[in-house]
């Protein structure tokens, strides 16, 4: 009698443990992604295939005249608030013993004459912007999934998701992001995604009178930017940070960070 009861108890326990396991398993299976087909993107509906491109940006500082046309075009194209910049131009004045960097109002109105207190041996302009890093710190720190990278390589901000916490602004080692007072969201260069998806060039590339800025597609074999990256001396800003920037600079001076 005793052993019978014990046996029954064991069986019951097994039975119920088993059932509990089944229930949990079922619930987990229910919660797992259902493998549902991802909805077609709005951009793709207009005949644009976002997986057919892989964009890169090429900058040749030696050609830049510091006119600031790119900064003004960017501001107007993207309605960038005063005092903030999605792209800006820096001037480097370098001598043997010292160096000087300035960027008055981001280079928006060009650059004034400058006298430095040392013997300058070289001077040049360097346009800067978001590097659309392939391994971007800004995306990694976003707590709500508002910063993301498209298949073509653009790092974008979803203004409906962004809570304006500013983590990404601090995480970017290039200072490419800012908090937009109007939208209360993180704001940054999009490589003019709204233009590029319509077959146009980014506004800064469009207006550059010297061909300093070039925009290319690494998936196109005859692309001039791809060719330049493959055959000429290019570098990226702060390569030691391993962020894999996608803005390439031709013959960059060591003073530029």
């Amino acid at each position: 009698m005793d052993s019978d009861q014990k046996l029954k108890e064991i069986l019951d326990r097994r039975e119920f443990l088993g059932q509990a396991l089944l229930l949990t398993g079922g619930a987990v299976a229910f919660l797992l992604p259902h493998g549902a087909e991802a909805a077609e993107l709005d951009v793709e509906k207009e005949g644009y295939d976002w997986s057919a491109h892989r964009y890169a940006y090429l900058i040749d500082p030696s050609l830049c005249i510091g006119c600031g046309s790119c900064v003004r075009a960017c501001k107007r194209e993207n309605n960038v608030p005063d005092g903030f910049f999605r792209t800006w131009v820096e001037r480097y004045v370098v001598g043997g013993e010292s160096s000087h960097v300035d960027s008055p109002n981001g280079g928006l109105d060009g650059f004034p004459p400058l006298s430095v207190g040392f013997n300058a041996t070289k001077s040049f302009f360097v346009p800067k912007m978001c590097n659309h890093c392939a391994s971007s710190p800004c995306m990694q720190v976003c707590p709500v999934g508002a910063s993301f990278r498209t298949k073509e390589g653009m790092v974008l901000v979803d203004e409906k998701r962004c809570i304006g916490c500013g983590y990404c602004v601090q995480a970017c080692p290039y200072g490419s992001r800012f908090l937009n007072e109007e939208t209360k969201c993180a704001d940054k260069c999009t490589w003019c995604y709204h233009r590029v998806t319509k077959g146009m060039k980014p506004a800064c590339v469009e207006v550059c009178p010297r061909g300093v800025r070039q925009f290319g597609d690494l998936k196109r074999e005859d692309d001039p930017v791809r060719k330049a990256i493959e055959t000429r001396f290019v570098s990226v800003l702060q390569p030691h940070l391993l962020t894999e920037p996608q803005c390439y600079y031709l013959n960059l001076d060591r003073e530029v960070r």
Binding site: R13, A73, R76
Partner: protein
């Protein structure tokens, strides 16, 4: 049976929690979130849908073919219209002129590129403006130079 009831109770609790989480998630998660990664896929289309502001030289040439031709044949051939003039969207909407084109005509417009300053590459045409004109204040370069096709000096 006493033990079985314990398991049942816990099991039921687990089911309620999971169901609650699942239902809450359906309402809290944006429709396209996670379709392509940890972001809202609809945002891609929303950003792409914005209207371009700059139209490019071809757009300007549709109405101003003469000026576009003059520019394309001169030394300002790489200077697109919208650098000195305003962006297309402030002048034309849906192919109809909505406002006059605002153009800065002071010497400062030209100085952005041609004033002699530190930083510009050697060989690019630059002027020491103080030496170039008697009085810089109120000077208008366009009084002597044609901006669409300036002569190289």
């Amino acid at each position: 049976m006493e033990h079985a009831r314990h398991v049942l109770r816990i099991g039921a609790l687990v089911v309620v929690i999971i169901a609650g989480f699942s239902i809450a998630r359906t309402f809290a998660k944006p429709a396209t979130y996670g379709d392509y990664g940890p972001y809202r896929a609809a945002a891609v289309g929303e950003i792409a849908a914005r209207a371009p502001v700059h139209g490019g030289v071809e757009a300007c040439a549709k109405c101003h073919a003469d000026k576009a031709k003059e520019r394309a044949e001169g030394s300002h051939k790489t200077v697109v219209c919208e650098i000195c003039h305003s962006p297309l969207a402030s002048h034309v909407k849906d192919g109809v002129k909505v406002a006059a084109m605002v153009t800065e005509k002071s010497w400062k417009l030209c100085a952005r590129c041609h004033q002699q300053i530190a930083g510009r590459p050697a060989g690019f045409p630059q002027q020491n403006l103080e030496q170039h004109v008697d009085k810089l204040e109120g000077a208008v370069c366009m009084d002597c130079h044609n901006p669409h096709s300036p002569k190289m000096q």
